[in-house]
């Protein structure tokens, strides 16, 4: 972990609806201080006496120095935990642990970066874009979603980036298609040096395939179900190829969520690849 995480009882400052998403701004000084783009937090849901005993992981969308430090979270309602979050009001408290995970690594020298985000996966890319620009990088956004209302952050992307390409599966906004259809054109047009991507596995897999095709590095932020977020439960593992060429089941919460795209065996997510370290009947150390 890049920074030591802390547990904070934050106070909700504001709640907003942004397209299909809910946005919560929470006063959480210890977390905002330590934030680097790509970090996430886990939040306790359901209040005291809740039957929901696991925390929910949410990317940090942004931080501000207001009130000693705030973090902004963006989420869609998927199940009971996110439904509860959506019901929070200003001045309610929220229990957070963070910042967690390995943030996006930054290029040493100024270069051209394409930021690919899918639905709420786009959330952590704007703070990343800010940092990249401060380092003199050119940034270009590609934001996608199933439908128009689920494209997150198009306005802000347009304000920040050299170019912004929108894509929806149903064509209701921007180009119609998938990342694989559209990303090659963006990379070619911008002469990108590096890709950052955040979204569901199939999107990351597609983006990685494209980046590999172009021979440029790609950093991806993956999402796996997480019971703890701090590296102790081993529920969040992904098959990743190490420096030594050996595939290991590594924790997305602590070794990730950001990985070099070509190291993640996307095709084998949800399996134990037969050649992974410690695979049943497979090779041993």
């Amino acid at each position: 972990m890049a920074a030591s995480p802390v547990q904070v009882t934050g106070t909700v400052l504001t709640t907003r609806q942004v397209d299909a998403y809910h946005a919560l701004t929470v006063v959480a000084p210890g977390i905002a201080d330590r934030f680097r783009p790509g970090h996430f937090v886990t939040v306790a849901v359901g209040g005291p006496g809740s039957s929901m005993i696991t925390r929910r992981a949410l990317s940090i969308h942004d931080v501000t120095p207001d009130y000693g430090g705030t973090v902004e979270l963006v989420f869609s309602v998927r199940g009971p935990g996110t439904a509860w979050l959506a019901g929070l009001r200003a001045r309610d408290t929220l229990d957070l642990v963070g910042p967690l995970g390995r943030p996006f690594p930054l290029p040493r020298d100024p270069c051209t970066c394409v930021l690919v985000g899918w639905e709420y996966g786009s959330a952590p890319l704007f703070a990343l874009g800010d940092v990249l620009q401060r380092r003199g990088c050119r940034i270009d956004f590609m934001l996608g979603a199933k439908t128009a209302d689920r494209v997150f952050g198009a306005l802000r992307a347009r304000r920040m980036a050299e170019t912004t390409t929108l894509v929806t599966e149903d064509g209701s906004l921007g180009l119609r298609g998938t990342v694989i259809d559209v990303l090659p054109g963006v990379i070619a047009d911008t002469r990108a040096d590096v890709v950052y991507a955040s979204g569901p596995m199939p999107v990351l897999r597609g983006a990685t395939a494209v980046a590999v095709e172009f021979g440029i590095p790609i950093q991806v932020a993956v999402e796996e179900s997480m019971a703890c977020g701090i590296g102790i439960c081993m529920t969040c593992v992904v098959p990743v190829i190490g420096e030594d060429g050996v595939t290991r089941m590594v924790r997305a919460c602590t070794e990730g969520p950001v990985f070099r795209g070509e190291r993640v065996r996307f095709g084998d997510v949800g399996t134990i690849p037969f050649d992974a370290l410690g695979a049943p009947g497979g090779r041993h150390a």
């Binding site: 995480p5 039957s51 949800g270 370290l277």
Partner: protein, 313 residues
């Protein structure tokens, strides 16, 4: 085995120790219990490995771990150097694997105790879980006891989903167990009604968290009643000091905290603080004075509980 306080991590729920050390000094724990170490590295089960259930957590991790060599090389020294009291949990698929593991640990001076995780399937008995069979459990325990240094206690850890927990516990004690840990996770399952598939890749998984606490209290109670001289580490659904006290009053002399750490990284310290406060309020100087106290015969005006058969209805 002398512990400065009765709150331990539950096996497999505290990572390697390094992760929790971001939050507090592990020397503040009664002891740190490792995940179950296996002979060779294990990649574990495919994901999804978790599903939330009401007040519970279902997991199927499959004992992912680096194997005993890497454990002794990288994990145990880290704990030892920091002076963390460490109980090493071991898991095997044959009696001889358990023996191998215990032998490898026998030379390590930094180990407070060996906990034998008996919730592993026995490869030599069609995958039947050791701890569901008194004689298989006893065989493992006595094999481990035989190769473990005399001053290192061997603790047998049992799952609750057996017909007669007392019988299995007694077999383990007869096999040489110095103490017992109760309970490991009972087998549970959850089905994703959208995918219409088991929620875990492994199909079934282990149920943990507050939902199982009544099962843990019952097992501790029954075993303490039958084997009052055997120290018990109570584990299962402990999230507060009250929960810990419940297990202690039922007969546990120490408690393990597992799933609660996923929700609150400081859970062990908080449970300890709350427990100490509750003990103080009740006038206990030492934990030992409260152990098993709920078994005392009912006084005047108190209700008799001991003459009733133990059926659930």
């Amino acid at each position: 085995m002398e512990l400065p306080n009765p709150v331990l991590t539950a096996a497999g729920c505290g990572g390697t120790g390094r992760e929790l050390a971001h939050f507090y000094d592990l020397r503040r724990l009664g002891a740190f219990v490792t995940r179950s170490i296996t002979v060779t590295p294990r990649a574990g089960r495919p994901t999804p490995r978790m599903a939330e259930t009401p007040s519970g957590l279902l997991t199927g991790v499959g004992l992912q771990g680096p194997g005993v060599d890497a454990f002794l090389e990288r994990e145990l020294p880290w704990l030892a150097q920091r002076g963390v009291r460490t109980i090493v949990s071991i898991g095997g698929s044959t009696v001889s694997e358990y023996t191998t593991l215990a032998r490898r640990l026998a030379d390590e001076h930094a180990i407070m105790a060996v906990e034998v995780n008996l919730s592993c399937p026995n490869a030599e008995d069609r995958g039947r879980v050791f701890g569901r069979d008194g004689s298989a459990a006893a065989e493992v325990v006595s094999a481990v006891r035989a190769v473990t240094r005399y001053d290192v206690p061997v603790i047998a850890k049992l799952p609750p989903d057996v017909t007669d927990i007392v019988a299995v516990a007694r077999s383990c004690v007869d096999g040489g167990a110095d103490a017992l840990t109760l309970i490991n996770t009972p087998l549970g399952m959850s089905i994703d009604v959208d995918a219409m598939r088991p929620a875990l890749a492994a199909g079934v998984g282990g149920l943990s968290g507050p939902a199982v606490r009544p099962l843990a209290v019952r097992c501790v109670w029954q075993v303490h009643a039958a084997l009052p001289g055997v120290p018990i580490v109570g584990v299962g659904g402990v999230a507060t000091g009250r929960d810990a006290l419940e297990l202690i009053l039922a007969g546990a002399c120490a408690v393990g905290v597992g799933t609660a750490m996923f929700q609150d990284p400081y859970a062990c310290l908080r449970v300890l603080r709350e427990l100490e406060e509750l003990l103080r309020e009740r006038g206990f100087d030492r934990v030992a004075d409260a152990v098993g106290l709920a078994h005392r015969p009912a006084g005047p005006g108190l209700r008799e509980t001991d003459d009733l058969e133990e059926s659930s209805l």
